[in-house]
Symmetry: C4
Subunit: 382 residues, 4 copies
């Protein structure tokens, strides 16, 4: 299925969003699109990139760009990962298996959400099936460590067995953020027939995912020692936590505010990035998500020290708009845009982008215009 | 009475405001909602919080939060007080006694306005009645010192006798601010049947509250010496005044611009807070009101050095929307939001929030976007 | 005639503007309201005050305020002058004589425009007639020095003879600014029956006012030596020019951008003020116009070092809305607001406002929000 | 043909745009008006000038202004060049020959685009025909160096033979920017009958213009050695590239972001200008385009160190609105505005504008209000 907007192929992620929001049930659309509280942070994520400015270099004769990226031992076709997002069967009947096929075709990393509505094994099978042999790309698994240590350990074993290449531990969710669209819509449970398939126990019962407010660095250290997989800590914004993550043995730090869905009022990841990069000091890779909607956004983040970025909602838009094909279209659009951005910025590889491309004062704090609307907010009402 | 918005319980203070503004008489709604002059400061109060950014800490294993707070010898269920606001019988037939019941149930401090439309004694009786034994919470009394020293002294005695635990002396009102909505509406007097009951003299006549432009530090010092109650000075914005307050023996400094109702053009309290905190230097507690509409707002203020915050208009919204139950609902929403914010910011107690959670440049002066509108301004017109 | 807005007295200058714009012919309204070019500077003038923040002092026991102000040997009822504006008969049949009566009643300075549509002598007679004996207030005369030195000298003599107490020499107009509303409206000449009466020669012919691009410091020095009146230079923004003005013997410096009507793109006077005040160093008074619409605006300017402010368009609004009574109402509103602002800021006299009332970073450059709209822009379209 | 807007002559470039956008085919209008990606940079270009502030000097007795400017050996009637823009026959049947006549009449430089729809020889003939003898003005030729070195060399020879006085080498286009309006409109080819006439080979076939991502400094150096014409490098934003350009022998540096049509997310040229001027250090002239819509914009750029500015879209507006007459009207408006701006800023010649006219903090980074709209965005929808 090929996504179509007013008779033509979407030319940007914003177009893909248009297609998706017309197709999604309103309550599901709100679940995907919404954030916590007043959505101050949700808007900030987009504003930070809208206000960022990159100084391009010219006449570098870069020739064809090389977007391939190595990350935690895997090769990716580009430094753009698919962030974990929940409940893909809300967007498309096939759910995460369609996502997996699209991501595999695009040759990058899909971080399978613990709240997937397909089993990890099904997702992994689809991913391998769609991937051409040893082409780039990999599955990672996102984990909320559960109070039930045995259950958590079993999940880690399943991820290892399914061929996941890294564990992404979400650390910004000791409790669930207050997402008021969902509260207003009464969207508190999955519709009949849908479930978090990776929390089903042998009796068929599906556990709820527990947000655990006792999760601490010790638990992370124990988890780190209990798996052979690299452990990525997702949800870090404070530079002190970034330093602690490295000291605790994390294999990567993922700067994120959970897409503005947890604590409303925190800064955009892009705003928090430079201090985190300083604190990490190159000891482990830094990944960033939140507001990346354009290839140039990825390049801006990398110029400021990120090793890769991730996108969440756009992949769901693609999935809703066109299933596997829509997911791939979203990633292909980002690849094409990033390729153009690299060419026009004078870097052959995204990792060649240096901080001097972001001149002093050319990065806009996300808080500069509290009342501002972003381009993507405009246009059609729904 | 349970407030309902379009058939459901309000999920935020903004929702509660929606309910209230539909119920209030237009002139009374304007009295509650309006500010002085062009309402530059009124907008600034909200913008300051909308633009603030908090850097959360992760993996601190905080467990259940403890929001209880000690303030001037009282224990509160949370560091959110009810600021004094006038004329509660405009919002609900029961007026301040309903407010008192709601606040008592919520276990925090109600600062009874000198312009209450119920007697202090009635309010105190309701408060004690609704409070479960020695549960947290207390009544404080707000005072405009009157030129008639004997009358002022008598009021202080009444407050002491009624069990009030502190005097909140308003110092930002040597004259009344120009509230142009009221001038346009001709809203200059209370409707028949309503009166400032605490200004009624033995003959039944009700005095007007005098704004006294000769009030000075000497008068405060004398008042301080004439009561056993702690004296809080409310309406301080300049750091030099904060220092003078401490030197004059004030037991707490309350940073406030009177909800934008006195001098239009003064900064948001949040903007003024850091310099005041520096000037006070921890010698007495610092309280802040003005624009607090979210739990995270309270946490931001506390990270910047406030010991507690207060809310004014939201309590009136709750009162209008649902009487005692609406007041309690407002405070319960704030408690739930603050609890979530603490969990997500990695602090067990709000007072554990440290200034490093507000990274440099992550606090937006309220003046950054003079023409900006805040989220709460949008939506339904009335 | 008492101005009325929707059945009630205007409570602010914005209200008065509402009345006026409904009464003025569209092309005349545009002449009054418009600025040069894109009106970037016109908007900046208002934004600068909208974004300014004043830190009030409390408990100073100021008692009744004293707004009287001495300026160049005259006593004014308040530090708010009436700036010179052209063509008052466009706004009201009586023109400048009505303005003069209103200003005299208000006890302040009217700067009679060289482009007045009544003779200076008529204006002076009306002013003296309406002024109660030796009450505060004075007439000053605004001059564009003309290439015809004899004519210029004759005008200065007329101003002296008419009892004008100062000459305000406009220095920002070597050529006329491009006011595109007037160009679009074809408003290039006064309607039949109206003329610049002070440029009428003995034959009855009316000269055009020449904008003279050869006017320089030498000419100012010669003018200075040729009159016993104090000479005020109006239209200074650059601090180097402020210093030159003092060295050239100017008796006061008037910071102004001609209400945004000359060079679009220059800063708001408030933004330019601090550097000018530094350059002048207290040697002569500094006056400011441009965007003053509130009493607190005057206080902000004075805290930053101005000795007085002036208002232009608001006086024309008052004149259009109610003739003499409207002019007086505008000035009375400003006086009432300034009185309130002084009381609430803790200063008995406006001149007591010190720079510390404007905390660092609490003055917003007018350029912060290029696309922002100001409050006064909103509301009714015309 | 004289452009007319609602029955009157346009008084500003914004008016001219109004006329043009009503006349252009929607897809052609989008081609002219649009930018790359989200058009963040396109908006930034305008915002940078809208937010800039110039401090005028007074009483300098400048007399009549002298706008003539020498640049690379040519004399221009003013320091405003016509930037190269493609496909003028989309705007007017005569295309670039009409443009040339208008520019010649205005006495400035027309940079003929390599993507012109008329032959360079026809354009040159029209230019010379319309120019009065040795009046100011010149043709320059814009070049995308092609991978086919012989073809590139032949083009350079044609430009020399046609009397072009400089080569403007575009260096910001190793690939074509993603212009999404064109993608959505399917505007990928010129309509039948129109072609890039300077890419026609002897057989009549028209080559495509190749964007060459291998173009580098060595190729520029070789081109520099292969022509007697001055070589201008257009599309520099990074100060390091400006320094390299001078070292590579460029005769001028042209600060540009290609009108926001190449890499979306780069800063406005005005924002990038000061660092470029520092890097160039006066060794060669600096030209700037991007967002210049007013005479004062040119003066701001020159105060910050530019030697001249260029306009692109406005010339196409003029061409669409009135052919040769419209082009001349656009340039005459800019000249009139610049003349007024110089008079009002106190400079006889634009080059006399010094950096102190732009006070510290009086230049607004273009990123300050990411969500802001600029004046030109408002008004009529189409």
């Amino acid at each position: 299925m090929i996504p179509v907007l007013d008779g033509a192929a979407p030319v940007s992620l914003a177009d893909m969003r248009e297609v998706a929001v017309r197709l999604l049930e309103p309550a599901h659309r709100d679940f995907v699109e919404g954030g916590a509280g007043d959505e101050r942070t949700l808007r900030a994520n987009a504003l930070a990139f809208e206000g960022a400015r990159l100084l391009p270099r010219v006449l570098r004769g870069v020739g064809p760009r090389d977007l391939t990226t190595s990350l935690l031992g895997d090769v990716l076709s580009m430094p753009v990962l698919v962030a974990p997002t929940a409940f893909h069967r809300l967007a498309h009947p096939d759910g995460e298996t369609a996502t997996a096929r699209g991501v595999a075709a695009a040759g990058t990393v899909m971080v399978v959400s613990m709240a997937a509505t397909r089993t990890l094994e099904d997702v992994a099978a689809s991913f391998e099936d769609a991937r051409a042999g040893s082409a780039p790309g990999a599955l990672w698994f996102q984990l909320y460590p559960q109070p039930d240590a045995a259950f958590t350990a079993a999940l880690v074993r399943r991820a290892e067995s399914a061929g996941c290449r890294a564990l992404v531990v979400t650390v910004d969710s000791p409790v669930l953020g207050r997402r008021e669209r969902d509260l207003r819509n009464g969207f508190l449970d999955l519709p009949p027939g849908l479930a978090c398939e990776n929390l089903r126990d042998p009796t068929g019962r599906v556990r709820s995912i527990a947000m655990d407010d006792t999760l601490d660095w010790d638990r992370i250290a124990r988890l780190r020692d209990a798996t052979r997989l690299p452990v990525v800590l997702k949800g870090v914004l404070h530079p002190a936590d970034a330093a602690l993550a490295v000291e605790c043995g994390a294999d990567a730090v993922w700067v994120s505010n959970h897409g503005g869905r947890q604590l409303d009022g925190v800064p955009a990841p892009l705003t928090a990035l430079p201090a985190v990069v300083d604190a990490v000091g190159g000891r482990v890779p830094v990944i960033l998500d939140g507001g990346v909607r354009r290839g140039v956004d990825a390049l801006v983040a990398m110029a400021l020290g990120a090793d890769a970025v991730a996108v969440g909602r756009p992949v769901v838009w693609g999935l809703a708009a066109g299933g596997e094909g829509g997911v791939r279209a979203v990633l292909d659009l980002l690849r094409a845009e990033l390729d153009t951005a690299c060419a026009l910025a004078g870097v052959r590889r995204p990792a060649d982008a240096t901080p001097d491309l972001i001149a002093p004062d050319l990065i806009a704090p996300d808080l500069i215009a509290p009342g501002a609307t972003v381009r993507a907010d405009r246009g059609r009402p729904w």
